[in-house]
Symmetry: C2
Subunit: 229 residues, 2 copies
């Protein structure tokens, strides 16, 4: 039962930090939502910062099961998995009416300074996320250039997700998100063309970039233009 | 003198919101820093949200003079201006020891929800920033493919800046920033190669991506590998 209370506190805190931010969430609100008194809360988390650390540790532990594995499960195509992952965030924007975005990205900009342990946990989540993407890029083998820095490209995918989510939230629209993902797709198509050239295959480059028509639905993974790779 | 007081309030609020965030900045701190009483503050800004709007309006008005024009002034090469702009943010990360990042990006993730006027001002800053980049991409003429969506690419540059700044802050290091900018450079080199192909020039593609050696200094604009375009 102690573990259950602790988990309920963490779940409520994670949701409130995600919805409102860390500073704007009062401890009283968390207590009210969970239905516990402050003694119970402080038993598990002696400070609001300890609660933040608990939320970040829980997120880090669940990153594979809640984010990376669903994306990987959407398609067997390793490169398409990258776009399925981005599609999860796209769906999140739609479901929450552009209010939440990425919990870790929000906290990275709000609470990292002056809290080295918090900052390290945020960076750890970013690293695990990017390592997941990197495993897919590695699995793409010779469909990407041999001399490509796949670690850097996996970090770039994270860069694109976070920057695209931010702009979509500000615009209250999927348009900047879709436009950014389309540019990433264009880049990866050019890399694929370069890889084909390296393997002595024609054509050297795509004649032009495909226009991906934005839709209000998250794109069904595995059914995009990417399939043709 | 009224205008002077108003400007001093806005400058202090902008700095504090940038350093600590909107929620974590108390009105008392602003009063103390500016050396005015609460009557003076509320004369100009009847609420903390009104102060936030004032800060965002001031930022929007100064975006050309403080950010876009310095980047444009760094080099005559329109594509190199994009990287000079990113170099300004890189320098900002170093100068502030990774604590501040982009004021608008921070506010986009912290305060946009439920404040439509605030969100519109954040989006307006993003738009003006991207339009500045777009004017440079337009000026690059046939060095980029004729069918390239230069508006989407300019938004992508913003995406990359914001996502790269976020990760650099979390890591407390320039490495993720430099890695992301190098990927953007790689993409734009591939676009340039595609444009050359479109003009019937050889070679069709770069044989490999250049590795840009990260340095602790902001790169001097106009002295990079980009020059060779």
């Amino acid at each position: 039962m102690g573990t259950d209370t602790r988990n309920r506190i963490l779940a409520a805190a994670a949701r409130l930090f995600h919805e409102r931010g860390f500073e704007a969430t009062g401890v009283a609100t968390i207590l009210r939502e969970v239905g516990v008194n402050s003694g119970s809360l402080y038993h598990f988390f002696p400070s609001k910062e300890a609660l933040l650390v608990g939320v970040l540790e829980r997120h880090l532990e669940s990153l594979h099961s809640t984010i990376l594995e669903p994306a990987a499960g959407a398609t067997d195509d390793p490169i398409e998995r990258v776009f399925a992952l981005l599609g999860l965030y796209r769906r999140g924007l739609v479901i929450t009416d552009f209010t939440r975005g990425c919990l870790i990205g929000n906290l990275a900009l709000e609470v990292g300074d002056g809290r080295p342990h918090v900052r390290a946990l945020i960076e750890a989540s970013f690293s695990v996320w990017a390592e997941g993407v990197r495993s897919w890029l590695d699995a793409a083998g010779d469909r990407l250039p041999a001399d490509l820095d796949r670690g850097a490209l996996s970090r770039f995918v994270l860069t694109v997700m976070e920057g695209a989510v931010m702009q979509a939230r500000a615009a209250g629209s999927l348009e900047p998100f879709d436009a950014s993902v389309a540019q990433l797709r264009s880049y990866m198509e050019l890399l694929a063309a370069q890889a084909r050239l390296g393997r002595g295959e024609a054509p050297a480059m795509p004649a032009g970039r495909e226009t991906v028509e934005p839709s209000d639905e998250a794109p069904p993974p595995g059914r995009s233009a990417w399939r043709s790779w």
